[in-house]
C-alpha cells in the first residue's frame, strides 16, 4: 500500500505523517506541491504546517498548487484523502470539504494534548475506531475554529459526517465542538488535531492516533 504525503513550501509535519504511515505498515511516498503527479499512490495525506506561511488565509494559496488539481480529481473519484490541521484548511479552501477554519477564539496559537470523541467510524480513515471512543492526541494550531453556516452544520450533523468532537471546554471556538469532518462519500477527511504525533508514547502523549492510519489500509484492502 502506498500513501502519498504532500510537501508544500512551509509544510512542517510531512516527516511525521510519513513516519505514521510507516508505523501503520504502509509505504510513504513524498509528493511535491509543484508536480501534478500522484506517483500512483493509493491515498494521500495533506500534513500540517504553515504552507505559504499561512498568509492570506491558512491553506488558501496551497489549494491552487498543481498537485491539488490531481488530488481534487482523484478525491472526487473516491481516493482516500486525509487533511491534518493545515491539510484540513487546504481541503476546505479547495472546497473538497465544507466550511472554513478561522482564528482560535482566544486568538493564540494553542498546543496541548486534547481529548476527542470519535463519532464517525465509517469513513476511510476511522473504521478502526469504535463509535464514541475517547482518544487523546495533540492539538496545535492558531486557526482551528471550524465555522460554517447553519444549513451546512445541520447537513453535517444529520448525515453523520462529524468525524470527531472536542471533549470538555471548547479549545478554539469551533461550532458544535467539531474537530474533524468528512465528505458525503466518506473518503475525504479533515481533522484539526494531529494523530501523526500520537503514534508512539515516547514522542507523543499516547498512541491513540495510529488507528487513523491503519483504518485507511483496511479500507484499501477491503476494496
Amino acid at each position: 500500500m502506498r500513501i502519498g504525503v504532500v510537501t508544500f513550501p512551509g509544510t512542517l509535519d510531512d516527516r511525521d505523517a510519513a513516519r505514521a504511515v510507516k508505523y501503520a505498515g504502509a509505504e510513504a511516498v513524498s509528493l511535491w506541491h509543484g508536480d501534478a503527479d500522484l506517483k500512483g499512490v493509493d491515498a494521500v495525506i495533506l500534513p500540517g504546517g504553515f504552507s505559504y506561511g499561512d498568509y492570506l488565509r491558512c491553506g488558501a494559496i496551497s489549494s491552487f498548487a498543481p498537485v491539488m488539481t490531481e488530488i481534487i480529481a482523484q478525491a472526487n473519484k473516491g481516493m482516500p484523502v486525509l487533511g491534518i490541521c493545515n491539510g484540513f484548511q487546504v481541503l476546505c479552501e479547495a472546497h473538497l470539504l465544507p466550511g472554513a477554519l478561522t482564528r482560535n477564539h482566544e486568538l493564540h496559537f494553542l498546543c496541548r494534548d486534547q481529548t476527542l470523541k470519535i463519532e464517525n467510524t465509517t469513513s476511510a480513515w476511522t473504521t478502526n475506531f469504535t463509535k464514541g471512543q475517547e482518544i487523546v492526541i495533540p492539538l496545535k494550531n492558531g486557526e482551528g475554529s471550524f465555522q460554517c453556516d447553519d444549513e451546512t452544520l445541520k447537513a453535517l450533523e444529520d448525515s453523520n459526517r462529524i468525524i470527531a468532537r472536542y471533549v470538555g471546554e471548547n479549545p478554539n471556538g469551533s461550532r458544535n465542538l467539531i474537530a474533524g469532518i468528512t465528505n458525503e462519500r466518506g473518503n475525504v477527511v479533515g481533522l484539526m488535531p494531529h494523530p501523526e504525533h500520537a503514534i508512539d508514547s515516547l514522542t507523543g502523549p499516547t498512541t491513540d492516533g495510529l488507528p487513523f492510519f491503519t483504518s485507511v489500509l483496511s479500507a484499501l484492502v477491503g476494496k
Binding site: G53, H108, F109, L110, R112, K140, H197, L202, T203, G204
Partner: protein
C-alpha cells in the same frame, strides 16, 4: 547624489565625517585613517562603525572572554570552538551538535512581537550556517513585575512573536525560563537558543577561500531594515533632502526562513559551498568582511548586484541593512548552476554578487566605482579592544552584610499558606499560558519539553541517541555574588541535564548586563566570566560560544546581572530518560543532598522584599558527585526533579501536579526544608525495594499516592494546589 568613492576620499582628505554620530570615538576614527592611510569613504565609515560597535566587536568583553579559551578544559567532544557562528560538539555515532544563545533584548522592548520573532530567526540562521538542521529552540525570558501595565504589553507580544516565528519554522520549543523583576521593566530580556544537528563531515565554516570562487547572496531581498544609525551618514552625504524614512524595527518573514532552511540543507547535502555566513547584525558588512577575513582575505563585491526591496537605498545603507532571512555563500563556479537550480526549486531569490580574489583586500564597487577597499581583518577581527575599568560596587558589602529575616511557616495553616503562595507567585506559577503557544511536538522527536527540567530531543530514530539542553540563570545570586552566581547557574544547568538522564557535555551562554561604562557593572561582568570559566574548567565542560548583551539598563539602573547558561548533554538511549513528574502511587521519595539555611537570594526572600545576604558558595565537586550518581543509577529513578528557585516547596508542587499523584511528606524543620534554596539537591521517586541502591547522601522524606500533598499535618488537596498554580498567568495576561 554624489558617490563617495575611494578615489574621492583620497583627494578630499579634509571632508568632515559624522563618525561620532555613528558611535565611533575620535581615537577609533583616527585608527581607521591610520589603517587605510587616508580618510574612509562613507561606506567604509559605515562598515567600521557597525563592525566596531560593542555588539559586533565585543570590545569591552573580549579581554575577559578570552578566559574561556585560556581555562578551557580538555575536551575530545569539541569539534568547533569559540569564534565561529556557533560551537560544534561531537555526540557520537558520527553526529555533531551545534547550539548557541543570542539576545534580542532591546528590539523586543520597542516592538515585542517582531523583536522576539526576529531574535528567533537570527539564532536559527546561526545554527543553520554551521551546516546543521535546526532541531529545537528554547527561550529564556525576563520581564518587569508581572502586574506592571507595561509587562501586559511586552510579555504577550514577545511570547506571540517567539511562537509565531518558531512554530512557523517547525522547530519544537522545548524549554526556557520566565522570571519577573523590577529591574527588567524598561529592559526585558529575550534570549533565544537554537540547537542543530549534522554529520561530522557536514560542518561548514565562515570562510571565503579559493580565488575565482563566487560570492552568492540568497534569501530575502534587502530593504532598509535596522539602519536608523546609518541614515545619519546618508543624510550628511546626500544633502538636506536626506533619504526616505528608514524603519527602526525589523519585520521577520518566518515562511521565507523556513524555505531558506530547506533550500540550504539541500545545498549542503550536495556539498555545494566552500564557506557560508548568515546575515545578522551589520548585514552584508559583517558577512563579507568575516568571510573574507576567515579566508585568505581577498574578495570583490559588486554591491549594485544586491537585489533590493527598496530601490532608494544608498550603498552605505545596503551595506548596513539588517534585513532578515538572508545568507551569503562561497561557491565554486562548477557548482553554481546546481546551486541556482536548488534556489529556483524553493523559489528563493539568489544573486551572484562577487568573487573571491587573490590578495588581501575586500573591494566593494557600486556601478563600477570602488567605494570600499579595506583589509577585511581590520573590520571583522581586529577591532578596538578596551580594558574598561572595573571595581566592586558599593552595594555588595552593604547587601552581603544584611541578614535575611523572613517569617518561616511552622503550623499546618502556615505551611499550607506558604505552599499556595509558592504555587501561585508569578516566578513559580504554571507557565502553560505561555508554553501552550509553542509547538513542542513538531518533528516528532521531542522526548522532554517544558515543564521538564531539561528539554530533550531524539537525534537518531534507529539508535535512539538524543541530546538534552537546559538554560539557567539565578540573577538574585549573581546580584549578591556574580562569581558564585555564574558557577551556580552552570551547576544548575548541568544538574538539570543529569536529572533527565543525559551526560553534560558543553556550555553556551548569554551574558546580559548593564552598561560596561559603569565600573560596577563591568565588575559584575568580569566576576561572572571568571566564575563561569573557573566553573567550566572544574567541571570539564568547554564553552563553545555565546553572546554578550550590554547596556541593559533604564536610566542609571542596570538590570540584575543575568548570565544565562546553557548546558548541552547527550543520552545514548532516549527511552531511558527520567521525567520530573511522580508517575505512580506507592513510591518512596528521597531528597538527594543536604539542606542548609540558604534563604539569601531565594524566592521566599524575594517575596518578602529582601535582597540581601550571601549567596551559597558553589561546591562543584559535590555537584559532579551528584551528577555521577544520577547518571549511574538512572534506571532506578521513577522520576527525578531538580530543586532550585522555590526550593523543595516548588519541586513538590511540580512533581505532584504533573501526573496528579499526591504525596505524604514528613519534615523536621519544615520552614527551612521547604524554602531554603541550597544547591545540589534533587528529589527522586523510587521503588521501596531499591532503597539500598542509593549511595549518595539522601533523606527519605515521604511516599507517593493520594489526591493531596500532605506535609506534616498540613494537607493541601491537589485540586486546590492546581488552581493556585494555574490561575496566575491567565489572570494576569489572559
Amino acid at each position: 547624489m554624489s558617490l563617495d568613492t575611494v578615489a574621492s576620499a583620497q583627494t578630499s582628505p579634509d571632508t568632515k565625517q559624522p563618525f561620532a554620530e555613528l558611535g565611533l570615538k575620535p581615537d577609533e576614527y583616527a585608527r581607521i585613517k591610520e589603517i587605510l592611510n587616508r580618510r574612509p569613504t562613507s561606506s567604509e565609515l559605515a562598515m567600521y562603525s557597525v563592525m566596531w560597535s560593542e555588539h559586533c566587536s565585543y570590545k569591552s568583553s573580549k579581554v575577559h572572554l578570552k578566559q574561556f579559551g585560556e581555562k578551557a578544559p580538555h575536551s575530545d567532544a569539541l569539534l568547533v570552538g569559540i569564534g565561529e557562528n556557533a560551537g560544534v560538539v561531537d555526540v557520537g555515532q558520527g553526529y555533531a551538535v551545534t547550539f548557541k544563545i543570542e539576545s534580542h533584548n532591546h528590539p523586543s522592548f520597542i516592538e515585542p512581537y517582531q523583536g522576539a520573532a526576529t531574535g528567533v530567526g537570527g539564532i536559527v540562521r546561526d545554527i543553520l550556517t554551521m551546516g546543521a538542521r535546526p532541531i529545537a529552540v528554547m527561550d529564556p525570558l525576563r520581564f518587569g513585575p508581572a502586574d506592571a501595565p507595561d509587562t501586559k504589553r511586552v510579555l504577550p507580544g514577545i511570547v506571540a512573536g517567539i511562537g509565531g516565528y518558531g512554530n512557523c519554522l517547525g522547530l519544537p520549543n522545548i524549554g526556557g525560563e520566565i522570571t519577573f523583576d523590577q529591574t527588567y521593566l524598561g529592559n526585558p530580556l529575550v534570549n533565544a537558543l537554537c540547537v542543530g544537528v549534522m554529520r561530522h563531515d557536514q560542518i561548514k565554516l565562515a570562510k571565503a577561500s579559493g580565488a575565482g570562487n563566487l560570492v552568492v547572496l540568497f534569501g530575502a531581498k534587502t530593504g532598509g531594515d535596522g539602519i536608523g544609525g546609518v541614515s545619519v551618514l546618508a543624510s550628511e552625504t546626500f544633502g538636506a533632502s536626506g533619504p526616505a524614512k528608514r524603519p527602526s524595527v525589523q519585520v521577520g518573514d518566518p515562511f521565507v526562513e523556513k524555505v531558506l532552511i530547506e533550500c540550504s540543507l539541500e545545498i549542503f547535502a550536495e556539498d555545494l559551498v566552500v564557506g557560508i555566513q548568515d546575515l545578522g547584525g551589520a548585514g552584508l558588512s559583517c558577512a563579507t568582511s568575516e568571510l573574507a577575513s576567515g579566508g585568505s582575505g581577498g574578495m570583490q563585491v559588486q554591491l549594485d548586484k544586491v537585489p533590493l526591496r527598496d530601490p532608494s537605498l544608498s550603498p552605505e545603507e545596503i551595506l548596513m541593512s539588517e534585513s532578515q532571512e538572508r545568507m551569503c555563500a562561497i561557491v565554486e563556479p562548477k557548482h553554481i548552476a546546481r546551486f541556482l537550480e536548488i534556489c529556483a526549486k524553493w523559489d528563493v531569490t539568489v544573486d551572484v554578487i562577487g568573487e573571491v580574489t587573490d590578495g588581501d583586500s575586500l573591494i566593494i564597487t557600486w556601478h563600477g566605482e570602488v567605494i570600499v577597499d579595506v583589509p577585511p581583518r581590520t573590520v571583522a577581527h581586529e577591532g578596538p579592544v578596551y580594558n574598561r575599568p572595573f571595581a566592586q560596587p558599593d552595594y555588595i558589602n552593604i547587601v552581603n552584610a544584611q541578614n535575611i529575616d523572613v517569617p518561616l511557616p511552622k503550623t499546618a495553616a502556615e505551611i499550607k499558606a506558604a505552599m499556595l503562595t509558592i504555587a501561585s507567585t508569578p516566578n513559580l506559577a504554571d507557565k502553560s499560558w505561555v508554553t501552550s503557544q509553542y509547538d513542542k511536538y513538531v518533528q516528532g522527536n521531542t522526548i522532554l519539553a517544558q515543564p521538564e527540567d531539561a528539554g530533550m530531543v531524539r537525534v537518531d530514530e534507529t539508535t535512539q541517541l538524543g541530546v538534552a539542553i537546559s538554560t539557567d540563570a539565578n540573577a538574585n545570586w549573581s546580584y549578591l555574588n556574580p562569581y558564585e552566581g555564574a558557577k551556580l547557574a552552570l551547576a544548575e544547568a548541568a544538574r538539570n541535564i543529569a536529572v533527565a538522564g543525559a551526560k553534560p557535555l558543553a556550555v553556551t551562554n548569554c551574558l546580559n548586563f548593564g552598561s560596561p561604562e559603569d565600573p560596577g557593572v563591568m565588575w559584575q561582568f568580569a566576576e561572572t566570566v571568571r566564575g563561569l570559566a573557573d566553573g567550566c574548567l572544574e567541571m570539564g565542560l568547554p564553552v563553545t560560544g555565546g553572546n554578550v548583551s550590554f547596556y541593559n539598563q533604564t536610566g542609571d539602573v542596570a538590570i540584575l546581572p543575568t548570565p544565562v547558561i546553557g548546558v548541552l548533554g547527550v543520552i545514548q538511549d532516549v527511552r531511558t530518560r527520567t521525567p520530573m513528574g511522580i508517575p505512580a502511587a506507592g513510591l518512596d521519595l528521597y531528597l538527594l543532598g543536604e539542606t542548609k539555611n540558604d534563604l539569601a537570594g531565594s524566592e521566599w526572600a524575594f517575596l518578602h522584599n529582601q535582597r540581601g545576604g550571601n549567596s551559597p558558595i558553589a561546591d562543584l565537586q559535590r555537584e559532579m558527585k551528584l551528577i555521577d550518581f544520577l547518571l549511574a543509577n538512572n534506571s532506578i529513578f521513577k522520576s527525578a526533579h531538580d530543586l532550585s528557585q522555590g526550593g523543595l516547596a516548588a519541586t513538590l508542587i511540580e512533581a505532584t501536579l504533573k501526573n496528579n499523584i499526591g504525596a505524604t511528606i514528613t519534615l523536621t524543620d519544615a520552614g527551612i526544608e521547604l524554602l531554603s534554596e541550597t544547591p545540589s539537591r534533587v528529589l527522586i521517586a523510587i521503588d521501596p525495594q531499591d532503597a539500598a541502591k542509593i549511595t549518595y547522601p539522601a533523606t527519605k522524606i515521604g511516599t507517593t499516592g493520594g489526591t493531596s500533598l500532605t506535609i506534616n499535618d498540613a494537607e493541601i488537596s491537589l485540586a486546590e494546589l492546581r488552581t493556585a498554580h494555574t490561575e496566575t498567568f491567565p489572570k494576569l495576561f489572559g
